[in-house]
């Protein structure tokens, strides 16, 4: 197994550095990747709560058919900012910035990222961007949805819309800088004893994610800059009456935003590939298949964006091409799901909170993926386009597929980050409430969509009222599900059971250091002697796999 070799004769001498960070270090421009990771996670979670409150407000409005809680403008502003915050300020920063920064150097045996100061800079672009987005409410709030399609975005709430654009460009810059850092770090900073085929799958996923972000984000920036000019400087890139064309915006936008779904899901897949083998006590099934399928998703994912534009007057040959390429992406995704199920199969599964969320993710992602395949097929898409079927689909993928994974990651690595265990009973309560809430909220939306309820409306036909009421009740269950989680985090951080260095018996390198890790991660860099997923192989040599945490 991977061990740190501790030379007994080398005393630790770091006079100018404290052994651990103090609480206030988390509020400064700190260049340590672990601090930055936690900064990202906490900031993103705060945005999640804000975005969640907006969702609850929208669902309250939608409980009845008429508009009596939010006026339509406010509904639009909430709808726009909810989607924007959830994607750009919660899932992406938490998964990539948070877990990526915290885990990648620890998993590859490095002392920090390749460019620590750049890393801190990338994080500190986030809070001002978020503030800018929220400040747009003072100017009425952007109204045009998270996609901000012109001409709607060029004629409504122009100041707020410009603030929205600048906020997105800021987080985009942050994400590009972060990607540069991840690519160079993973590429060059692995501990010398680690072979590429010993690289943890989370790191493979981060590599693919970073490549994808690096290539797609700037294209969105280009599209948004043109939009900014159209709104503020009288140009007409997207104005058909003056020689422009709105579909160009859609191409530039979806060239980023389709890959963005993989930006959200690939790191989560990485988390899954770490959590499942540890808690199933089995080697991961198909290491190479999972690693390569990440890269395959990254490549094919760049060529499917037009499936969002089947109803934008796309010529039939393009519909054909992009339907097929979309269905192809389902293959590497299916490979991963198959691998996880095969890993679970016959494993000595520990059903703790982390594992529950991981299995919850599997079940919900399969459903979301299936509705995704139906949507990727042009004929079905044309039927349910812009109905609640779409809303149901992307919430299954984003909530079931991303948020569940982030929770699984938090339950799994919290002991490493804080040195303390989360309370399992609260964790299971959290899981049960979240699982019920998610299905109650989003499952009925498929039905709403097939029956024809349009999305992005504050008022709707009374025939949809009963189903909407169920969705709203579900949303409240979801809102309450946060409470046990928050109590758990705050209580356990201070008073939870001491975790020890390796509470789960994990084999990847992050478990070889202390919990929480030293400022420099290791006193002496670890030497890799075994793959990260070789669970149970010891058994043949006579020892059991449970007592593998014999670190210093």
């Amino acid at each position: 197994m991977a061990q740190a070799q501790l030379p007994l004769d080398t005393p630790l001498s770091l006079p100018e550095h404290p052994k651990a960070w103090k609480w206030y270090d988390y509020f400064t421009f700190n260049v340590d990747h672990k601090v930055i990771g936690i900064q990202y996670l906490v900031t993103a979670f705060i945005f999640y709560l804000i975005g969640g409150l907006m969702a609850v407000a929208m669902r309250t409005e939608l409980a009845t058919a008429d508009s009596d809680f939010l006026n339509p403008n406010l509904y639009n502003a909430f709808m726009t900012n909810h989607g924007t915050i959830m994607i750009f300020f919660w899932v992406v920063p938490a998964a990539i910035g948070g877990f990526g920064n915290y885990l990648v150097p620890l998993m590859i045996g490095a002392r920090d990222m390749a460019f620590p100061r750049l890393n801190a800079l990338a994080f500190w672009l986030n809070p001002p961007a978020g503030a800018l987005l929220l400040a747009s409410f003072l100017f009425g709030g952007a109204q045009a949805g998270w996609t901000s399609y012109p001409p709607l975005s060029t004629i409504t709430a122009t100041t707020a819309q410009s603030m929205w654009i600048l906020a997105i460009i800021l987080v985009g810059t942050s994400s590009i800088l972060g990607s540069v850092n991840f690519i160079v770090t993973i590429w060059k900073m692995k501990v010398p004893s680690m072979r590429w085929d010993q690289l943890p799958l989370f790191c493979w996923a981060m590599l693919a994610t970073s490549l994808l972000a690096l290539v797609s984000t700037p294209v969105l920036a280009a599209g948004l800059i043109l939009l900014l000019f159209d709104i503020n400087f009288g140009t007409s890139f997207y104005k058909p009456d003056a020689g422009g064309n709105v579909v160009i915006y859609q191409h530039l936008f979806w060239f980023y935003s389709h890959p963005a779904v993989y930006l959200m899901i690939l790191p989560i897949f990485g988390i899954m590939s770490e959590v499942i083998p540890v808690h199933a006590r089995k080697p991961i099934f198909g290491y190479q298949a999972i690693a390569y399928s990440s890269l395959a998703i990254c490549c094919v994912g760049l060529f499917v964006w037009v499936h969002h534009m089947f109803t934008s007057g796309t010529p039939p040959w393009m519909r054909m091409f992009f339907t097929i390429s979309t269905l192809i992406v389902a293959v590497p995704t299916g490979v991963k799901i198959f691998s996880w199920v095969a890993t679970l199969w016959g494993g000595k599964i520990r059903l703790n909170s982390a594992m529950l969320f991981a299995i919850g993710l599997l079940s919900m992602f399969v459903l979301g993926g299936l509705s995704g395949v139906t949507l990727g097929t042009a004929p079905v898409d044309i039927h349910v386009h812009d109905t609640y079927y779409v809303v149901a689909h992307f919430h299954y993928v984003l909530f079931g597929g991303s948020v569940f994974g982030l929770y699984a990651g938090i339950y799994h690595w919290f002991p490493k980050m804080t040195g303390r265990l989360l309370d399992e009973r609260l964790g299971i309560l959290h899981f049960v409430l979240t699982f019920i809430g998610t299905n109650l909220t989003f499952l009925p939306m498929h039905e709403l969509g097939l029956k024809g309820m349009p999305r992005r409306v504050a008022m709707y036909d009374p025939q949809f009222e009963p189903i909407n009421l169920i969705c709203t009740i579900g949303a409240f269950v979801l809102a309450f599900s946060i409470i046990p989680f928050l109590i758990n985090i705050i209580w356990s951080w201070n008073k939870g059971k001491i975790a020890g260095d390796n509470p789960w018996g994990g084999l990847s390198l992050e478990w070889t250091t202390s919990s929480p890790p030293l400022i420099e991660n290791w006193e002496v860099l670890p030497v890799v002697t075994k793959g990260p997923y070789d669970y149970g192989i010891e058994q043949h040599k006579g020892s059991t796999d449970e007592d593998e945490d014999e670190e210093e």
Partner: protein
């Protein structure tokens, strides 16, 4: 600045405490992939607009060639000039490097001056039509990059005042400024082809 906050006296850690100049160059190269795609997005938008409009550029927008051609020649030759600076520093010749870098910066400034002159004399403005939109946004954006490049070069010159800051073995900053400058140059060649040459046919 690379890799670690601090270092330790162990065989493996020493390796980490070392400067990794190649990382910064690598980082820049990776970053430039991203930059190219931002320009790529603008180019794509331009080509789509071109394909969708009957007449390109629309009537009344006369594309001048003289000043931009001179400008192009200046910018392309500056890529050779800056390279001599890099060659000089590799021979430990800091003064030579400074000289070549000064000349590059000056050529960049002339390029920007030429662009401003062009803007003032063109006879159409940002809002005239969708071609003019593209023209000003794309060249303006590129001009911004030239400006940043000049700042990088001046930064290198400024830092080279300290004796021994750059030498034959330590010249990552010099190399990075050069790479960035070449990048700006390559983008310009594509831009020039799209905006000036292709509008003639």
């Amino acid at each position: 600045m690379q890799g670690t906050v601090d270092s330790q006296a162990t065989a493996i850690a020493v390796d980490h405490a070392h400067e990794h100049p190649d990382f910064r160059v690598l980082g820049l190269l990776v970053f430039l992939i991203s930059e190219s795609l931002m320009f790529g997005g603008l180019f794509a938008a331009y080509l789509l607009l071109r394909g969708m409009n009957e007449q390109w550029p629309p009537e009344g927008t006369e594309v001048e060639l003289l000043v931009p051609t001179i400008n192009t020649i200046i910018l392309i030759s500056s890529s050779f000039v800056i390279h001599y600076g890099d060659v000089a520093i590799k021979k430990d010749d800091v003064r030579g490097m400074r000289q070549w870098y000064w000349i590059t910066a000056a050529m960049g400034a002339v390029f920007l001056g030429g662009q401003v002159y062009e803007y003032l004399t063109l006879g159409y403005g940002l809002r005239t039509n969708v071609f003019a939109n593209c023209f000003y946004v794309m060249t303006g954006f590129h001009g911004l990059h030239v400006f940043v490049g000049i700042l990088l070069i001046l930064g290198v010159i400024w830092r080279s005042r300290r004796p021994g800051h750059y030498n034959a073995h330590k010249h990552t900053g010099v190399a990075m400024a050069e790479i960035y400058w070449h990048f700006v140059d390559v983008i310009w060649i594509i831009l020039f082809t799209l905006l000036y040459i292709l509008t003639r046919f």
